[in-house]
Symmetry: C2
DNA sequence: CACCTATCGCAAGTCGAGTTGCTTTATGGT
DNA sequence: ACCATAAAGCAACTCGACTTGCGATAGGTG
């Protein structure tokens, strides 16, 4: 008890311009924690972003973080998804190939950032024991990109039997696998070649 | 089952029963721990395979495990790679398509086991901070499969400009992504469709 | 067989994730 | 202005990964 004299701040003598951020609540606290999380994420990396560090940086108690987000994973996921939400637009150029190249180029660029990689890696750590409750961020984005293929079919640029999900999984999967497994760079030519491979095939292909 | 006092001349005829604290050493201890690890892996799953549990099951002290394998990750990786080493043969049927279908079907089957999934997930958790490179199990297998494509090129079944690595990454990446992200099943038709997509392209080929 | 040393057992401890019971305070509603 | 209560703070745990110092011993060597 006496070991921690942090009992109460003596009336905050130095009244700053902004309201003393002691004991943030509700939305204010949420913002502060989320901001601290993304800040730590980009400075200390994923491993360095511990709940205690986030709480300290946000001026909030660790327990409060756990009460709101339950797990560290949820916290980081929340911070990342709200930040990266607008990062993957769906182009509509009238050309399937161009649409796909643009979308997956944006995806590749996202996967080349520390935050994109962190989000991918966390998305992979679903618990086998607990029922699936992983938020399907990437799967969702990928399936969203399937409309690019569907539009191509409607335009007559692709045969009617085309499986949009398969096309998108092949290209996206290669990018994900590179990021997660080999860590090899995701250059622009790679995306173009992958799209070409999937559209034209290894046989019939006038590559590029 | 687990008891392995075999092989060694126990001697110690002095009064005490065989209840002596069998202090396993060197290779014997290594075997026991590795066996216990794979056993726990298939019964308790990845999350349930804790170092303490492995040590207990192997009749060995936890410290000894850490001294030999340094981390839990290394231990499990070691156990899995030695066990799954012969799981991905390279077929040679004279037909690229058939070769690829067979290889990736085997891969899909492997990814459908608890051990395959565990190995994949652990392969993803390389530390960004440490230079300690994750052992490239999957990447290596994939690149090994690239010879299937190369043979196809040599046989004239594929054009000369074909990029073997790309073909293999597209199909494999899709399988990996399914396993890691969506957890969707990896049926036989999926592999056939993926190979067809990559060989014939979404446009062109109507062969199969 | 006696000796040496790498190897193993053991206890105690650090660190971060996650939990719980209880106290305190900031707000919003009347 | 007052009061009820949801939201935070706080301390004290549990648990598993990982470390360290030291004592005990198995195994091979001379």
């Amino acid at each position: 008890m006496a070991a921690t004299p942090s009992g109460h701040p003596p009336a905050s003598p130095s009244s700053q311009a902004a309201a003393a951020p002691l004991r943030r609540r509700g939305e204010r606290m949420r913002q502060a924690v989320l901001a601290a999380t993304t800040r730590l994420l980009s400075t200390q990396g994923l491993a360095g972003t511990t709940v205690a560090a986030v709480a300290r940086a946000a001026g909030v108690h660790e327990t409060s973080v756990y009460r709101r987000w339950t797990t560290r994973e949820n916290l980081i996921l929340d911070a990342l998804t709200t930040e990266l939400d607008t990062a993957l637009p769906l182009p509509d150029t009238g050309e399937v190939r161009e649409d796909l190249v643009r979308f997956f180029t944006a995806l590749a660029r996202l996967l080349d950032t520390a935050q994109g990689r962190a989000l991918l890696r966390l998305s992979v750590e679903h618990d086998d024991t607990l029922a699936d409750r992983r938020l399907p961020y990437w799967t969702e984005r990928l399936q969203r990109a399937a409309v690019l293929v569907r539009r191509g079919v409607e335009r007559g640029q692709l045969p009617a039997g085309t499986d949009p999900g398969l096309v998108v999984e092949a290209v996206g999967g290669a990018l994900f696998a590179r990021t997660l497994l080999s860590g090899a760079p995701l250059g622009e030519p790679l995306v173009r070649d992958l799209v070409a491979l999937v559209l034209d095939g290894a046989r019939g292909g006038r590559s590029r």
